[in-house]
């Protein structure tokens, strides 16, 4: 009884601002639309078009690709960073301080930060200038900006921390004497990493994966900015439709995206009990 009262605010917020909107989206995905308005209807046109278009598959594939590449990179970087913080930084104060240092850039609006990549990565940007000055290249590298490279760079920039935190959390729960036991058993540093730390960090990796994958799959603004609108993912498809007032079509795409994400996450959740591992 008290439990319900305590859970009530969360429940209400989620019902009103999560479940109801999802319901609404599902309903609207069957509606019709014309130039200027949407009208209640029950038709499968939106889905028919969605599944009938070759673009849909291409864009979903692109979305998965972004998710996958970003995941791999954030995992590699995030794991290394978390490993450093957890096992090489000894005092807790330092750990907190270094963490805070990592979070500060996030207080500057994402959009401002994305705009600022352009002078950095652009044809005449700092990166190219430096490389030319060092004599490493003669021609500016075109693919630094407005490319998959820049999109993924921005994703990694934005989301690595979401990987670091859960992995760090799990690593801090590893009993230090296990590492000594491994060393005692003749394991080299690398073997300890592979045979002891990595398996024990799996839950954290899973949770981080959930964060990163969903964030990347749902993104639209990063892809738009960093690819110079040249690439598309599902989020952009939806936001374009919204921009053009094609709500039912956007809703249909959204339903498919949501299902995809939920299935992916559902699979990941089979491997980890989030509540226990925190």
């Amino acid at each position: 009884m008290i439990g319900w009262l305590q859970a009530a605010p969360l429940t209400l917020v989620l019902l009103a601002f999560l479940l109801a909107p999802i319901g609404m989206i599902v309903v609207v995905s069957f509606w019709g639309a014309n130039e200027f308005a949407i009208f209640p209807d029950f038709q499968f046109d939106n889905y028919a078009f969605l599944f009938g278009s070759e673009v849909t598959y291409r864009v979903f594939w692109a979305t998965f690709r972004y998710a996958l590449i970003t995941w791999a990179l954030t995992l590699a970087i995030g794991f290394t960073v978390a490993y450093f913080l957890a096992f090489h930084v000894r005092s807790q104060t330092w750990q907190i301080a270094l963490f805070l240092v990592c979070t500060i850039p996030f207080w500057t609006s994402n959009i401002i930060r994305m705009i600022s990549w352009i002078p950095f990565l652009g044809r005449n940007g700092i990166a190219n200038q430096t490389l030319i000055d060092w004599g490493l290249i003669d021609q500016p590298l075109e693919w630094l900006l407005y490319s998959d490279f820049s999109v993924i760079l921005a994703f990694v920039h934005l989301y690595t921390l979401f990987m670091v935190v859960p992995i760090f959390n799990t690593m801090m729960r590893i009993d230090r004497s296990l590492l000594e036991a491994a060393r005692d058993g003749g394991a080299s540093g690398f073997q300890t990493l592979v045979h002891v730390i990595l398996p024990l960090t799996k839950p954290g990796i899973m949770i981080g994966t959930i964060f990163v994958v969903t964030l990347v799959m749902g993104d639209f603004i990063t892809v738009r900015f960093m690819s110079g609108s040249q690439r598309a993912n599902v989020g952009r498809l939806i936001s374009n439709d919204i921009g053009l007032l094609q709500y039912p079509s956007a809703a249909a795409t959204a339903v498919v995206l949501l299902l995809t994400v939920l299935i992916v996450i559902g699979l990941l959740l089979r491997f980890v009990n989030i509540r226990k591992e925190l």
């Binding site: 909107p21 207080w107 705009i115 600022s116 940007g125 540093g189």
Partner: protein
């Protein structure tokens, strides 16, 4: 001091590179915010000046930075308070099983992984269909909560997983009512983590773009405003804003660390017998 192994220096270097990467845009922003009055958003620098900082406090050609900042701050604080309060309550609720707790948990996870644009779309649609006015303080607030609450809840799981139940039993034994137990024992003990939840809630809200896109109503929050400003000539003013934000964050964190340090010092002066056999 123990001699550090080689891996420490390698990892520290990696970490430094990671931080540099995180700060790449921040640094670019920092440099460009000192553009001369003729300068633009990109390199090269056209002189060095404080022009744009001064300009920041004057009215812009387009948009209302400080109004938007005020709204974002207010919204951020609202979200922060609500996130702390609701997630603590929910965290308390989840310590016992209650009917529907499983469903609520999965709902929260869904809320975490649902692409943000869908919330924006759905909430916008619902308000539209119900004939309600969207406003940053109602629909925008709710939409952002669907993002911050699951995070808050996860942190609370982590906190309560480590919380020793015997504190509460001791309090009840001492005649505290359930409310007194929470007020005088549970909350003070978990207070440091609550600061974490609060910071997290504020940061997520302050930088949230997608979820407010269709739910903010007449007035823009800061990210939306910055985005809107890009429909006219954007000047390095937004960089000046970014730089100020960063400096401000550093200041806050500096104060925070300093007070933590002072407190530790003061305690240390009073001595400790911990671990001594007396």
């Amino acid at each position: 001091m123990e001699k550090r192994p080689f891996s420490f220096y390698a990892l520290a270097a990696f970490f430094a590179l990671f931080v540099l990467f995180l700060y790449g845009p921040t640094i670019t922003i920092g440099i460009l915010s000192f553009q001369g009055p003729q300068g633009g958003l990109t390199f090269p620098m056209r002189g060095v000046s404080l022009h744009w900082f001064r300009d920041l406090f004057q009215e812009q050609a387009v948009g209302d930075i400080w109004g938007a900042f005020g709204r974002s701050l207010a919204l951020g604080l609202m979200v922060m308070v609500a996130t702390v309060v609701f997630s603590v309550m929910a965290g308390l609720a989840f310590r016992k099983r209650f009917l529907g707790s499983g469903a609520l948990f999965y709902l929260a996870i869904t809320s975490l992984v649902i692409p943000s644009i869908l919330i924006s779309l759905g909430v916008g649609l619902i308000f539209n269909q119900l004939g309600l006015k969207v406003h940053w303080a109602t629909s925008g607030f709710g939409s952002q909560l669907t993002w911050t609450l699951p995070f808050g809840l996860l942190i609370m799981f982590a906190v309560f997983n480590r919380f020793d139940k015997s504190f509460e039993e001791a309090a009840r034994d001492q005649g505290a009512t359930s409310w007194q137990t929470i007020r005088h024992v549970v909350l003070p003990i978990i207070a440091p983590s609550l600061i974490g939840v609060a910071l997290f809630g504020f940061t997520l809200s302050y930088d949230e773009f997608a979820r407010t896109l269709l739910t903010a109503g007449s007035y823009n929050t800061l990210p939306l405003e910055v985005f809107g400003m890009t429909t006219n000539v954007t000047s390095p003013v937004i960089y000046a804003l970014g730089t100020l934000t960063t400096i401000f964050s550093f200041a806050i964190i500096g104060v925070f660390l300093l007070s933590a340090w002072v407190m530790a010092r003061r305690r240390a002066r009073r001595g400790s017998d911990a671990g001594r056999g007396v």
